[in-house]
Symmetry: C2
Subunit: 349 residues, 2 copies
């Protein structure tokens, strides 16, 4: 067994690998953490009066990511960012992550370490520490991240300081925290399916795909402003507004001309840009619904904090059928014919 | 798409599958749960003054389990039980579980539902609810469970009411909460590698493998009695005492004749029974270390509560070398020659 430069995780063994990864992560800066990596479980003191939130996501090589277009380090960032975004979409702060890796025996140690460096960079950006996990041998490479977060401290009243999918109501305005389509546009560039004339535009789009920025501060501000319904745009705007409609028992009408497009998207993709913004996934902006005056107040709070802008893109309307319906209207008033194309992991996406 | 009897998860789709699994689980009985399955994250109110603990485990088909010897329902029980045991080994109560499944598209819906029934049965036994998760398509079948638990309420003082691996000290007695070797003995029977003359003995051993019982009440009682060091016997007694020694900077001497053997183990396996008890994994008893008078008090508390017996099997001794050393002595005083054989997922176990 070589000790200075192990090539694969099989050279290092499970416990050797865990030691290295713990070193890569470094100690947690969170003073409430009591026990990190190395015991039967991690342990921490939750903040008083806060709710704890928890979410988990599994990523499979060849299905959810491709190391041909994503570096190990970016993959680490994305795996954590995707889960941080779910916590942001609850209006909560990310705190702790647990990471379970199912790895082929020939997985390169240098790659796994770069993956952990990427997670560490993302965690430091958002105040979130990797505090435990598991590594096991497997035929497939599967990454599984669990994220624990905390709500704002609860008031004395019964009001839940969370952003829930089920709380959209007829007459609510629908708004997004930032431009859409950047991640899917960047992926097209990375795959060589498109070219940008400006290098800086191409770089920004590819970065939107490689290092997405979850909207944690935006989610907290939405809750503070009184918004109670939101989710993150991970499957694509139309699909995700559909999820809100399904859980809330409503429909939604969107004004396509008001959907903010990622910088440079139109320059590169022309007329296709709108479709990318409506159906492309992994933008991790927040889409929310609330009475128009609440949305206005939220927009002001975001602006005060140097966040946003919060763009109103449509409204919640009563449910007309059994299935939720999300329509995107052109400025002519004619509904766009866009297939939702939300990602379904078994029907093939 | 058939709707009444879908054969595979591909027939049902991701969201159809999630709906079915949520129905299989039923509502949570935990009044502190605010949001369960269906939003970006689950949310709950942590108990005042309790620490939160979190652990995660990944199980890979063909590596950690085999559906030839384990039913889907037993697999669900075991996947949850294994994680509940880690929480028990911290001296905490299990509360919530998140389950991420990476599934081949041809995975049978009936099997996945049976898996969730098994998790539900185990969760109900231990007061723990599955509150969220993820299902994704994959070449390999990987089960990943994250368990959240709570410590006993903390006293005003700085004492951590947890069972930690790092707190064994020279002179401590080592004790286990129950008999060992049952799970690995049962597996041998299931694989046809051994036969039992008594059917009832065989059934008990196989049940020890199929439906292990984590020691949650025992862990809580150990903490209450003042014990602060323990872990669960998952890799095998010698390997797991080795983990405690490594983290605590000590060695351990065990008295092999005092290691309790699972009922019927000696009848079926003769002289090999002791080796199975010392090196067999997945028994999920707790092994703890504490000053002898604390262990005696813990034994009394367990007996009062109808738990235990707590068997003293050895003692912690000073570290002699760089690596931790765990020796098992025969009654003659001669050390047994037993390879630790702890499970290392990459070196091949």
């Amino acid at each position: 067994v070589p000790t200075d430069a192990p090539a694969s995780v099989a050279d290092l063994g499970e416990f050797g690998l865990i030691d290295r990864l713990a070193q890569t992560l470094g100690p947690s800066a969170n003073p409430n953490l009591v026990i990190g990596i190395g015991d039967d479980a991690a342990a921490w003191l939750p903040s008083p009066r806060c709710m704890t939130v928890a979410t988990t996501d599994a990523l499979v090589a060849g299905v959810h990511f491709d190391l041909a277009t994503t570096s190990w380090e970016d993959l680490g960032w994305k795996a954590l960012a995707e889960n941080i975004s779910d916590v942001a979409a609850m209006g909560c702060r990310p705190r702790y992550a647990l990471v379970a890796l199912a790895l082929p025996a020939n997985a390169p140690v240098s790659g796994i370490e770069a993956f952990y460096r990427g997670m560490r960079a993302c965690g430091e950006r958002y105040g979130c520490s990797v505090i435990g996990g598991d590594v096991v041998r497997s035929g497939a490479f599967v990454i599984q991240v669990t994220l624990l977060g905390e709500s704002l401290p609860m008031d004395a009243g019964p009001d839940r300081l969370l952003l829930e999918r089920s709380r959209a109501r007829d007459g609510d305005a629908i708004a997004v925290t930032g431009p859409l389509g950047g991640s899917t546009g960047g992926l097209r560039l990375l795959l060589g399916q498109a070219t940008a004339s400006e290098a800086r535009v191409a770089e920004e789009l590819m970065n939107a795909h490689r290092r997405p920025m979850p909207r944690v501060q935006e989610g907290l501000a939405l809750v503070e402003a009184g918004v109670r319904c939101a989710m993150d745009v991970s499957d694509g705007l139309l699909a995700d507004v559909g999820h809100i409609c399904e859980r809330s028992g409503v429909d939604a009408d969107l004004d396509a001309s008001r959907v903010p497009l990622y910088h440079g998207l139109e320059a590169v993709f022309g007329q296709e840009a709108l479709r990318l913004a409506l159906t492309g996934g992994e933008d991790y902006e927040l889409v929310c619904a609330a009475p128009p005056e609440t949305i206005a107040r939220a927009g002001e709070l975001l602006a005060e904090r140097g966040l946003g802008p919060l763009s109103v893109i449509g409204s919640i309307v009563p449910r007309t059928g059994v299935e939720p319906r999300v329509r995107a209207f052109q400025s002519s008033g004619v509904p766009l014919d866009v297939t939702v194309g939300g990602w379904d992991h078994f029907h093939g996406g």
